[in-house]
């Protein structure tokens, strides 16, 4: 057996201490030229994870860059009433098989979570690792109605609707989709427009950009004069993105830089975009914490309504304004407060007893902060 140490992993270069140190030094000297610290939002939850997992946040702070977590966690921004609608169905109807990603089963709602409710006889909840797996289950169990409950951004949307397309071609009568599909650019615009926000630039999500390309963010530089860079998910990737944003700020030349060229093409993924265009339509979607944002959600077009669980099971997705709880997930998602500023964080709200979705999801800012960053205190 060959054994390699972590430093020799395929990502060694992207994680190397000497490269990270050099990038931090360059960022720090750029900041000194600017003369004040900068605030950059990392939009994607996976970026938040990298920043914490590699202990980069305190190092960046020292260099003069404050990183703020954005709304890039699909589980976190899906409102409770999606979960409640599927919980109602699962607990009242027989022979329903709800398939979803692991994190989704743990989101606490007024009706419990998918993991804690007891389904009606013959019904079941199953954690799957890809929408294809749900489609396979539908083929194998024709007597059961299989619903894929999928939350996602542009990264996962094409893959999910592709299964609907296949189901349609195969004329499967027992497969449907409850979609919670969200679009990143309109959400960024809503954040920029909200008056409370003071951000100097963005690190754009790498894998969302793989689909939507560079031009999708142009309006942020052109209309709002804000800097930004598309970045990958290794430490050096993110630091390259930050360096680019900081340089744009220094030279007052905001643009959409692509620092993830090994994966992201300027035009994105035309096939995936065409599939989304063909099957989905935009609507004014309700984001947890951000509220209703014009044309920020996608749902199946009416021609695919047979495969839309909302239509097939007459699900009621009604925005219910819940009695205000002390959970401040909404403000965390907007980058207004840090997880530690929430009075529940680490006290009554922790991974075994999450009070809000940000403490549930592996991309949730609260869970990531809880898991990784208490260590920052002792540095």
């Amino acid at each position: 057996m060959t054994v390699r140490i972590a430093g020799k992993s395929p990502f060694a270069g992207w994680r190397s201490r000497s490269i990270v140190e050099r990038l931090l030094k360059t960022i720090s000297s750029e900041i000194r030229t600017i003369g004040s610290t900068v605030k950059i939002m990392e939009v994607c939850g996976t970026h938040t994870m990298t920043l914490h997992r590699f202990g980069l946040k305190p190092l960046l702070k020292e260099a003069g860059v404050e990183m703020i977590s954005g709304p890039g966690c699909p589980v976190c921004i899906t409102p409770d009433y999606y979960h409640e609608a599927i919980i109602d169905l699962l607990t009242n109807q027989k022979d329903i098989l709800v398939c979803t990603f692991g994190d989704m089963t743990r989101v606490p709602t007024r009706k419990g979570s998918l993991q804690t409710v007891v389904p009606k006889e013959g019904s079941k909840i199953k954690i799957v690792y890809s929408p294809e797996e749900a489609l396979g289950l539908a083929r194998k169990n024709p007597q059961q109605q299989v619903i894929f409950f999928g939350a996602g951004f542009e990264t996962t949307i094409p893959g999910i609707v592709f299964t609907v397309k296949k189901a349609c071609q195969e004329r499967l009568k027992n497969f449907s989709l409850l979609s919670a599909f969200w679009l990143i650019p309109p959400a960024l615009e809503a954040i920029i427009d909200s008056e409370e926000m003071a951000i100097d630039g963005f690190i754009y999500p790498g894998h969302v950009s793989t689909i939507i390309g560079e031009a999708a963010y142009s309006f942020i530089a052109e209309k709002y004069g804000l800097s930004g860079a598309i970045a990958g998910f290794e430490p050096a990737d993110i630091l390259l993105g930050i360096l680019s944003v900081v340089r744009q700020i220094r030279w007052k030349k905001p643009e959409v830089a692509n620092e993830y060229k090994r994966v992201v093409r300027p035009e994105g993924n035309p096939q995936a975009l065409a599939l989304m265009e063909e099957m989905l339509e935009k609507f004014n979607a309700d984001w947890r914490g951000l509220g209703i944002i014009p044309e920020s959600g996608l749902r199946l077009k009416p021609v695919y309504k047979d495969f839309d669980a909302v239509w097939r099971f007459a699900l009621k997705l009604l925005p219910v304004r819940i009695v205000k709880s002390a959970c401040r997930c909404g403000e965390v998602l907007k980058g207004l407060i840090k997880p530690k500023d929430c009075p529940l964080f680490g006290q009554v709200c922790h991974p075994e007893n999450p009070k809000g979705p940000c403490m549930v999801s592996y991309e949730g800012a609260c869970l990531i902060e809880y898991k990784y960053s208490s260590g920052a205190k002792s540095q």
Binding site: M1, T2, V3, R4, I5, A6, G7, S9, P10, F11, A12, R15, S16, R17, V20, E21, T46, H52, R53, F54, G55, L56, K57, P58, L59, P74, V75, F101, G102, D103, R106, Q115, T116, I127, Y129, E133, G152, F153, T155, T156, H207, P235, A236, H350, P351, E352, Y362, E363, Y370, K371, Y372, S373, S374, G375, A376, S378, Q379
Partner: protein, 328 residues
């Protein structure tokens, strides 16, 4: 109504909470309160028990039979005892193919003789179909104490040694259990740790087998036991090249993947190199490494810190929930 969740058994914080709030107060006595991997009995004996519910029952690198012997043997070894006798209790689901049962018994026999332990008592129960999952096994083990963990003696400068590459068992099981349509030749590291026994006479201060919750959980538990923080260098942790690609694709932190044939040791600074050499001499210890030390400069009491490959520091928390591959 409060219900038991799967997470309570995942070896993480929730399980510890259950032990601390339910089991200890209910049954407390000086021997149990020590919470060693095995109970250290007054007569110079160590006594331990473990139940095995692994799914699937056969996996690359082992099966429930090798697991149920090695697991209990290892609990005795890390408690400072030479394993001697095991009990074997089988809970079998009605309908299990007899051929599989025979295969498991053979594997138990082979592993027991490899470990020089004898199965001296046992029990067999069969439950109706659907009330169990093929087969569950419980083993208890008795061993003679030849050493004693001395966590109170651990001081700054002492070295942290891991006896081999980590995470292979957890990943092998995860891949065998789910259809990720991914090709990865990783095998479980399931193996006996008997070769570590002589180290008890070489000044070792503490030993723990790395099981559920992975290396990170064992480190954070050790940090809570002693008066000083721990600092581990990520670059020095041995990983098999076979798991590196897979954990990146699945988005899993290998520090939380279970092992079944690896241990974490604390050695006095002066003995560390010598002890490492001894471990490396054994085929199961070839990839052993000194990967960290007990600190008095960085961190606070109770903390296990990791110096990431990129240079940043992060806190190692115990596992909090089942490992799930990430969505995107």
């Amino acid at each position: 109504m409060k219900k038991v969740s799967l997470e309570m058994g995942s070896g993480g914080r929730l399980m510890r909470k259950f032990i601390d709030e339910q089991l200890i107060p209910t049954f407390q006595n000086p021997i149990l309160n020590e919470l060693h991997d095995a109970a250290l009995l007054p007569s110079g004996l160590a006594f331990t028990t473990d139940s095995y519910t692994v799914d699937p029952i056969f996996f690359p690198g082992g099966d429930i039979g090798t697991l149920c012997v090695n697991g209990t043997v290892n609990d005795l070894v890390v408690s400072g005892a030479r394993p001697e006798y095991l009990s074997l209790a089988l809970i079998i689901e009605e309908g299990l193919e007899f051929e599989l049962l025979e295969k498991i018994l053979k594997s138990i026999k082979k592993t027991a003789s490899r470990n020089s332990v004898r199965i001296v008592t046992g029990d067999t129960k069969v439950v109706p179909q659907g009330q169990g999952d093929k087969i569950y096994i419980n083993t208890a083990g008795v061993g003679r104490l030849i050493g004693r963990p001395r966590p109170a003696k651990i001081k700054p400068g002492d070295k942290l040694i891991v006896t081999g590459s980590v995470g292979e068992h957890g990943l092998a099981i995860m891949l065998a259990r789910n259809d990720f349509t991914m090709f990865c030749r990783v095998k479980s590291d399931c193996a006996p740790l008997l070769f570590l026994l002589p180290l008890w006479e070489k000044g070792i201060l503490w030993m723990r087998d790395i099981t559920r919750g992975g290396l990170a959980t064992v480190l954070s538990e050790l940090a809570e036991k002693i008066a000083y923080p721990l600092l581990v260098d990520e670059e020095k942790i041995p990983f098999s090249s076979r798991i590196q690609g897979a954990v990146e694709i699945l988005g899993i932190d290998p520090l939380y993947l279970a092992c079944e044939g690896r241990a974490l040791l604390v050695s006095p600074e002066s003995e560390a190199e010598k002890i490492l050499k001894m471990i490396k001499r054994h085929p199961l210890g070839r990839s052993a490494a000194i990967m960290g030390e007990v600190q008095d400069k960085i961190g606070k009491k109770g903390e296990a810190l990791l110096r990431a490959t990129s240079g940043g520091l992060r806190l190692l928390e115990p596992l909090t929930s089942e490992l799930l591959p990430r969505i995107c």
